[in-house]
């Protein structure tokens, strides 16, 4: 079984400042890792994913994340945030295998302040 911990439930940050949203996971097997974003009153949109290969992955809207196997982390970063980045961000993991469901963290609400 897997579990995901997002350490920060809310992160306020000023516009154009950098941000890091933290995600740690626990799993007895190898996993795929994902970040999804949920804008107000909308569904879940894939931001980026780590499947294999380079541990630094780049996603949409200037976000990137780094997979650290030894620390079982997959932190999300952006060097300069915009007001439009205000949203809920969910880290998720899944095991390998066709039907494996996603296990989500509780989410981090990013609020960008002008």
């Amino acid at each position: 079984a897997q579990s995901v911990t997002q350490l920060d439930s809310q992160v306020p940050v000023f516009e154009e400042a950098p941000v890091e949203l933290r995600c740690n996971y626990s799993s007895s097997v190898s996993v795929y890792l994902f970040w999804y974003v949920q804008y107000p009153n909308q569904g879940l949109q894939l931001l980026l994913k780590y499947l294999s290969g380079s541990t630094l992955v780049k996603g949409i809207n200037g976000f990137e994340a780094e997979f650290n196997k030894s620390q079982t982390s997959f932190h999300l970063r952006k060097p300069s945030v915009h007001i439009s980045d205000t949203a809920e961000y969910f880290c998720a993991v899944s095991g390998y295998g066709g039907n494996t469901p996603l296990v989500f963290g509780k989410g981090t609400r990013l609020s960008v302040i002008a």
């Binding site: 795929y32 994902f34 999804y36 909308q42 569904g43 879940l44 949109q45 894939l46 994913k49 499947l51 969910f90 998720a92 899944s94 066709g98 039907n99 494996t100 469901p101 996603l102 296990v103 989500f104 963290g105 509780k106 989410g107």
Partner: protein
Amino acid sequence: EPEVTQTPSHQVTQMGQEVILRCVPISNHLYFYWYRQILGQKVEFLVSFYNNEISEKSEIFDDQFSVERPDGSNFTLKIRSTKLEDSAMYFCASKATETQYFGPGTRLLVL
């Protein structure tokens, strides 16, 4: 770009009534999922479906829930007798390989 679609976007129902939530997965995807998100909480897995049968379900997915793929395009979630605690956003997702793509959700309110 292909998308997962869901209908209705909102549904209000009385406790004890049956509801059917509908999803149209991306056309070449073979794996289908339902998740729910109670207001202010995390997204929780309900059920996965592959090759016309349930492949995995969570403890939330009890006898009140059922899923069906009635034709080649639709994927439905039925709640037989709704309870107040079924009020949530329900998301459908589909995938071809590793990555699940989500629909916009159906917000269900049980009164």
